[in-house]
Symmetry: C2
Subunit: 356 residues, 2 copies
C-alpha cells in the first residue's frame, strides 16, 4: 500500500524523534512492501518563528491531504512570552479542531522492566493496562465566550465549558466500542454533582449504554477518579471523559508505569487523517543532543499503522520490536539506571530497526 504521511516536527526534540520514526517506518515499508511518502510542515513555536503563525494554513492543507499525521512536540520557554502573544499550543489546539480530531486515545501500559522507576509500588502498577479516551475538540477548551469582562467594576475573566449532546455521544460510543474490544469495562468520569455539562454527559452515557449490553459501565466523579487512579489503577479498563478532565487524568496516569518517555497517543476523527504524537513534551533542555528517547514517537507511529492504515500485523510487529529492545536492556538516558550505559537517539533507533 502507498500512504502519505504528514510529518510535523514542531519544537525541541520533536525533529529528532520524528526522524527516528520515519527511519523505522521505512524499514516497516520495506519489510511489508508498502510505500510511505513524507510531507513536512511547520507547527508550534518553529512555525511562529518562520511564519508568524503557530498553524500556517499550508500546514492544515498538507495534513488534510495525507493519510496520517505524525507530530513531534510543541512549545518551549522561548515562546512563553512572545511579543505577538502567539503561543505554540495554539498550533496544537488549532490542528485538533481543523481536523476534527475529537477522540484522544492514551493507552497506559508499562514495560515490566521499567515499573521499578515508578513512584508507585510495583504491585500496584505491574501489568496496568488502561486506556484513557479524552474528548478533544469541545468542552472548556473551545467554548465561547472566553474573554475578559468587567464585573462589579473590576476585571474578570471567563471560560465556557459547553457540550452538545452529539459531541458527548460520539466520544462515549467510541468508549463503548473500545471497551468491547478490551476487557468490557467503561468508566465515565464527570463532575455531575456540580456541573450541568457533566449531568448531560452522564445522561447521555445512560441513554447509550443499552446499545452495549456486553459492556459494564460505571460513573465516577473526577475527584474520586484522580484518587482511584493512584490507589488502584488496575480497576480500570477504558476511561472516557471530557477535554479538561482528560487532560489532567491522562497526565496523572502517565506517571503510573515509570514510562512517561514511552507513552504514545492518537487523536482521531470521523474522516480526516489521525494525528499521532508522544505524550511527552518538547524537552528543550536536551534539544539537538541526540539524547531524546524516540520510543514514544515510534509507538505513536505503531498506533497510526493500526488505526489509520489498518495495518494490524505491521503495528504489532513494531510494538513487539519496542518491547524486545527494552527487554534486551537497551535504554536511553531518561530511563537508564545509574552506572548503566545510555544509548543515543540514533543508537536506540538502530536497535529497533535491527530487531524488526
Amino acid at each position: 500500500m502507498k500512504k502519505t504521511i504528514t510529518v510535523l516536527p514542531g519544537d525541541g526534540i520533536g525533529l529528532e524523534v520524528v526522524n527516528a520514526t520515519t527511519a523505522v517506518l521505512d524499514k516497516v515499508a520495506e519489510m511489508y512492501g508498502h510505500e510511505f511518502e513524507y510531507k513536512y510542515a511547520d507547527i508550534g513555536g518553529s512555525a511562529i518563528d518562520k511564519h508568524e503563525n503557530p498553524l500556517p494554513p499550508e500546514t492544515v492543507d498538507t495534513c488534510k491531504s495525507s493519510d496520517g499525521v505524525l507530530l513531534g512536540a510543541v512549545g518551549g520557554p522561548k515562546w512563553d512570552n512572545h511579543p505577538s502573544g502567539m503561543r505554540p499550543e495554539q498550533g496544537l489546539l488549532g490542528i485538533r479542531k481543523a481536523l476534527q480530531l475529537f477522540a484522544n486515545l492514551r493507552p497506559v501500559t508499562g514495560h515490566e522492566s521499567l515499573t521499578d522507576s515508578s513512584s508507585l509500588k510495583k504491585e500496584v502498577v505491574d501489568n496496568v493496562d488502561l486506556m484513557i479516551l479524552r474528548e478533544l475538540t469541545g468542552g472548556i477548551y473551545f467554548g465561547t465566550p472566553q474573554e475578559r469582562r468587567e464585573v462589579d467594576g473590576e476585571e474578570a475573566a471567563l471560560d465556557t465549558m459547553i457540550y452538545k449532546k452529539s459531541e458527548i455521544a460520539r466520544i462515549v460510543r467510541q468508549g463503548f466500542e473500545m471497551a468491547k474490544l478490551r476487557r468490557g469495562k467503561l468508566t465515565s468520569v464527570d463532575k455531575a454533582n456540580v456541573l450541568e455539562s457533566s449531568r448531560l454527559w452522564r445522561e447521555t452515557v445512560e441513554e447509550i449504554k443499552g446499545d452495549y449490553p456486553e459492556v459494564e459501565v460505571e460513573h465516577m466523579l473526577v475527584d474520586n477518579a484522580a484518587m482511584q487512579i493512584i490507589r488502584e489503577p488496575k480497576q480500570f479498563d477504558v476511561m472516557v471523559t471530557g477535554n479538561m478532565f482528560g487532560d489532567i487524568l491522562s497526565d496523572a496516569a502517565s506517571m503510573l508505569t515509570g514510562s512517561l518517555g514511552m507513552l504514545p497517543s492518537a487523536s482521531i476523527g470521523e474522516q480526516a487523517p489521525g494525528l499521532y504524537e508522544p505524550v511527552h513534551g518538547s524537552a528543550p533542555d536536551i534539544e539537538g543532543q541526540n539524547k531524546a528517547n524516540p520510543l514514544a514517537m515510534i509507538s505513536s507511529a505503531a498506533m497510526m499503522l493500526k488505526y489509520s492504515f489498518k495495518m494490524t500485523e505491521e503495528a504489532d510487529a513494531l510494538d513487539r520490536a519496542v518491547s524486545d529492545v527494552l527487554s534486551a536492556g537497551h535504554r536511553t538516558g531518561d530511563i537508564v539506571k545509574e552506572g548503566e550505559n545510555a544509548l543515543s537517539t540514533d543508537e536506540m533507533t538502530d536497535k529497533v530497526i535491527e530487531v524488526l
Copy 2:
C-alpha cells in the same frame, strides 16, 4: 474562653464522628478552662429528609451566630436520584457560599506508621508535608450561566468558569502568607496555556508576588501538577489553585500518605466562622456501626482551635494526642493491618481523651 460551635452532623458516619469530636473537645475545654457550647443543625441528605431543603435557612443562621462550625459529611446513594432533584451536596456548596468561605485548606501530612499502606513508595511519601489551598466560593462551581440550552438544534449544557481579580487576589495572598509561615515556597496551579481565567489568575500572582519577596513562587500547569504530585510530592510546600483544580488535586494528594481517613480540612472566610470537616465522605456502608475513624474530624477540630479560636497550644496538644495514639499502634478498621485488633469509634475516641 467561651465559644459557640455549630455542629452539622450531616449524613452517614457524620453523626458518629462529630459525637466523638465534641467528647474530645469537652476534654480540651476542661483541661484549659474553656467553655464550648454546641448548637446542632441539619444539612445535606438528612436535611432534605426533614425539611425538604439541603440547607434550611435556620442552619445558615445558626452557623452565622457561632464562632466555628464542625461538619461531619454529606451525601449518600439514598439521595442520588431524589424525586425533588435536591442533592445533599447543594447544602455543602450553599453553606460555603453563605458563609463566604473562600479559602479551603487541606494539609497533607502522613503519620510515618501509616505510609506503608500508601500505594506510593515509602521513600516518595515519607515526611510529605504540603498544604493545598483551594479557592472555594468562585470559579466554575458558582459561575453563571449554568444551564441547558439549544445549540444547532440540539440539547447542550454549559457551565461558566469565571474569576474576578479580587477573588483571585485574596486567595493568592492567603497562599503567600501561608508559605511565609511554612517553608517559603508557593506553587500556583492553573491552565494558562488554554484558559482565559487562568491567564488572569497567573497575572494576579505576578502582581502580588512583589509584596512577598521572601516567598519563592512558581507557576505550574494543572496537568503537570497532577503528574508532579505523584512523582515527587516533596517538591511542594503550599499549592494555591482555583475551585475545580483544587478539588481534583486535593483528592489526588489525599492518597499520598495512606491516611485518607485521617485528613482534616478547614474552610475559612474573612469574617464569618470557619467550617471544619474531614476530607473523607459519609461512608453510608458503615453508618451507625461504631466503626468510623474519628481522627480526621478530630484533627479538623484542632484546625478550628488554631484558625478560628487562636488556641494554638490547645490545637498542638490535640494534634499531638492524635499522633501519639497512632504511634501507640491504635487503629480503627480502615487502617488496621491484617490480624491486628481494630478499635471502635468510641474506643479510639477514649484513647485520644486518655492521651490528652
